[in-house]
């Protein structure tokens, strides 16, 4: 409770400084709107449904792409961990492509898929996939061989070992890879939405883009806040409980 209170005071102070800066009129109000203006924009965007619609569109692209990335990345990671051939080929490819900022996929996606949902999805999948492949491979390679041996003596065989021993043992690595993949996917999707206008749906990135076009700074800042909040919520609702569970089970240090 005390921690919550301190955090609340911190954020209240942040807004207060913002308000003071606005009132001091150092910058033009066009460049720095007041917190009140941003709230008004968010209220109206929420009231007419723009915000909800954009959020749903963005989250759908993100989630679908992310899940596809996971479904492809996990088995690929297992293959690269299991067979040298896959390690030397797919593994090397993944390592290389992971260093490529996922925004760099946007031009290619545009040329291949045009201004379509497929282009968005492609960018998100590319953002997710390679992190998951690499984390899964690293996780599996770090499983102490003794787990496998112990399982073998208890009658565990191939698939049972993979699903009941190797995968759970690699879970801490896989989860951190999933988290990184999520972060990469989120960033690249925002970049793609800002770059690309797609008639099938206006996402948050596009709202941000049009805020700039219209010089509506309260919209730009408002949408940025929404994007930050979504990122925080994803962490708190999805990753944080998983990480807490891992910390509790494995006894690793708790942040």
């Amino acid at each position: 409770m005390k921690r919550f209170l301190l955090a609340a005071i911190f954020f209240a102070a942040l807004v207060l400084i913002w308000e003071i800066l606005f009132r001091a009129k150092i910058w033009s109000p066009v460049l720095l709107p007041s917190p009140g203006q941003v709230v008004t924009y968010l209220e109206s965007a929420a009231a007419d449904g723009t915000l909800a619609k954009a959020t749903v569109i963005t989250m759908r692209r993100l989630l679908v792409g992310y899940v596809i990335g996971l479904i492809m990345g996990l088995p690929l990671g297992l293959l690269t961990a299991r067979w040298k051939l896959f390690h030397d080929t797919i593994g090397t490819l993944a390592l290389g492509l992971q260093t490529l900022p996922s925004v760099c996929w946007v031009p290619l996606a545009l040329l291949w898929f045009g201004q379509t949902e497929a282009a968005m999805l492609f960018v998100v999948v590319m953002g997710t996939l390679w992190s998951v492949v690499i984390a899964t491979e690293t996780g599996v390679r770090n499983v102490p061989p003794i787990y496998r041996r112990a399982a073998l003596t208890m009658g565990s065989k191939r698939f049972h070992i993979w699903f009941k021993v190797i995968l759970p043992a690699a879970l801490p690595f896989i989860v951190s890879g999933m988290k990184q993949g999520w972060a990469f996917a989120w960033r690249s999707l925002m970049a793609a939405e800002i770059f690309v206008t797609i008639l099938t749906g206006f996402g948050l990135g596009q709202l941000l883009h049009y805020g700039r076009e219209l010089s509506a700074m309260e919209q730009v800042i408002g949408i940025m806040i929404v994007i930050v909040v979504i990122g925080l919520l994803a962490d708190k609702i999805f990753f944080s409980p998983i990480e807490k569970f891992l910390h509790r089970r494995w006894g690793t240090s708790q942040a």
Binding site: P144, I146, Y147, R149, A150, A151, L152, T153, M154, G155, S156, H160, K164, V165, P168, A169, L171, R248, R249, W250, G251
Partner: protein, 277 residues
Amino acid sequence: MHLTGRHRSSATEELQVIAPSKLAIENVSKSFRGASGSVLALDRVSLNVAEAEFVCLVGASGCGKTTLLNIIAGLEKPDSGLVLADGKPVTGPGRERLVMFQEPALFPWLTVLGNVLFGLKLKPNLTSKDRRDVASYYLELVGLSRFERANIHELSGGMKQRVSLARALAPNPRVLLMDEPFAALDALTREQLYGDIQRIWKARRKTIVFVTHNVREAACLGDRVLLFAPHPGRIHEEFTVDLPRPRDINSVDLAAYATRITKALKSLGQPEAAVTG
């Protein structure tokens, strides 16, 4: 406990003391390719272990005793020779011969209970109720009933090895293979476990092959102690420990045996080999 008749019968059946295996190791050889060429870890080792016998393998590091244990477990294949369990050749690992390792091989993603259940879940024809009953029985046997729900990292070293023991016992193997299971524990915890393992061995009637570098431990636990010599790994000498059980690690009679074995160990020209006791 509320058990239906069917449950009671199959859990009880699962908990029955079953016949321990006799082991025959015939001319087993195994070499490893190391940095400095091929090393003969085991050179035509032959050994018979009777039903419900407790055999200890002692020797300096690198004398092949762990390799032999792994071969009996089926985790490694000999280059030549044969391991027979009740007359049938061992071709791979199986739950008839369960291993308790020196390093904690417990699964950190499972609770204490989950670890003990792991092997049981691989046994067919058991309901989940049966498995729970069996697991609870063994956790009680090792004195850890209260820690069913605990996470592995919350346990002390001694408790971890107790869970390992319960996990190895739960699928009711005929042979228990123990690879320096107490080496990493403090003396006091070890002494407790010497008592426990003798009690459990008597209650559950297992054939036990126990690898250790601790001569006193071997004399305390073994019906027979086999002294291994290195380069190449082979059985150098055999000692029959004729003392009543349960044995106390600190007893004078036991010390006499330990001294004899230690002397033989030293005569192998390996004074640095652990003569702990």
